[in-house]
C-alpha cells in the first residue's frame, strides 16, 4: 500500500485499496455506505471510507463539504486522491503529525454534487439531506472524541452539532483547497494552527 499524496491516481493502488474494504475496522462503514447508496439510488457518487484511515476506531472525524470528482473516480473519500485539495490535506496532516489511524474523513453531503467535471457548492437543502447520515455515522464511531469541521459549508452545522453532541469536542479548520492555501502565505499557517489544535486535543485524550 502506497501512502503518499495522490497515490490513488494509480489504478493498481485503487485495486489494492478496494481489497482492504473487508478489514474489520471498515466493515460496518462499508455497510453504511451501501445503505446510503441503496436509499438514494446512487452508486459511485458516494465513495467509500478510506481503509487506511481509522475506520470505526477513529477518534477524530474530519468533516468536509462533498466528495469531488477525483473522489468519485478513485472510489474513496481519501487524502490520497489525485487532486490538490487532498494533497494539501495529506501534507498538512503529516507535517503536524496527526496519526491518520486515529482519524476518519467524511462529507456533510455524502454524494457527489456537480456535473461530472466541476463540483458545485453545497446548498442548504443538500446539507439538510446529508445530516441524518452524519448522525447515523456518529453512532458507528464509538471512540470518537473530536469533530473537525473543515471549510465554511461544514461549519454551518457547528451550533447544531455542539448542541446535539455535547460530549464531543468540535473544532474548525479552513478548507485546504489550493484556492485558499495559495491565496496568501499566512493561510497555510492558519491551517497549521487549526490542525495543531486537533493534535493537542487528540494528545490530551490519550
Amino acid at each position: 500500500m502506497i501512502d503518499i499524496a495522490k497515490s490513488l491516481g494509480n489504478v493498481q493502488e485503487r485495486k489494492n485499496r478496494i481489497k482492504l474494504l473487508d478489514k474489520k475496522h471498515v466493515s460496518p462503514l462499508v455497510g453504511f455506505v451501501e445503505q446510503i447508496r441503496n436509499e438514494r439510488g446512487l452508486e459511485k457518487e458516494i465513495p467509500d471510507f478510506d481503509p487506511l484511515d481509522g475506520g470505526v476506531n477513529a477518534e477524530c472525524l474530519f468533516l468536509l463539504e462533498a466528495p469531488g470528482p477525483q473522489s468519485v473516480q478513485s472510489g474513496f473519500v481519501s487524502r490520497n486522491n489525485p487532486d490538490e485539495t487532498a494533497k494539501n490535506f495529506f501534507e498538512f496532516n503529516q507535517e503536524v503529525g496527526i496519526p491518520r489511524r486515529k482519524t476518519i474523513i467524511w462529507n456533510i453531503v455524502p454524494w457527489y454534487i456537480g456535473n461530472g467535471k466541476r463540483i458545485r457548492a453545497a446548498k442548504k437543502s443538500d446539507i439538510q439531506q446529508g445530516l441524518p447520515y452524519l448522525q447515523q455515522l456518529l453512532t458507528l464511531l464509538p471512540r470518537l472524541k473530536i469533530i473537525v469541521l473543515v471549510g465554511k459549508k461544514a461549519q454551518t452545522i457547528k451550533a447544531e452539532l455542539a448542541e446535539q453532541f455535547r460530549n464531543l469536542t468540535i473544532l474548525t479548520s479552513p478548507h485546504p483547497s489550493p484556492m485558499f492555501v495559495n491565496r496568501k502565505q499566512q493561510n497555510r499557517n492558519i491551517i497549521f494552527s487549526s490542525l495543531r489544535k486537533v493534535k493537542d486535543a487528540l494528545d490530551q485524550n490519550k
Binding site: 474494504l21 466493515s27 460496518p28 462503514l29 462499508v30 455497510g31 453504511f32 451501501e34 445503505q35 441503496n38
Partner: protein, 68 residues
C-alpha cells in the same frame, strides 16, 4: 450470524460489518435468482443460495448445527 440478504435492507450491511469486526462468523443466505452485494460476500464465511421454504429450513438447520 445468519443473514438473509436477498434484498437490500436498512442497517443489515452495517450489522454484518459489525459481526465481521467482532470476529463473529457470518453466513449469508439469499433466494435463488437474487444477487447479494459484493460487499456482503466479501465478509461472509459462506454465501448460500436457497430455493423455497423447505430448503431454507434445511440450510438454517445445517448452519446452526455446524461447529464454528
Amino acid at each position: 450470524m445468519v443473514a438473509e440478504v436477498s434484498f437490500s435492507s436498512t442497517g443489515l450491511g452495517i450489522e454484518i460489518g459489525w459481526a465481521n469486526a467482532l470476529d463473529i462468523p457470518v453466513v449469508c443466505i439469499h433466494k435463488s435468482g437474487t444477487v447479494p452485494s459484493t460487499a456482503i460476500s466479501g465478509v461472509s464465511r459462506e454465501v448460500i443460495e436457497c430455493e423455497g421454504r423447505e430448503e431454507l429450513k434445511r440450510v438454517v438447520r445445517e448452519i446452526v448445527n455446524k461447529p464454528t
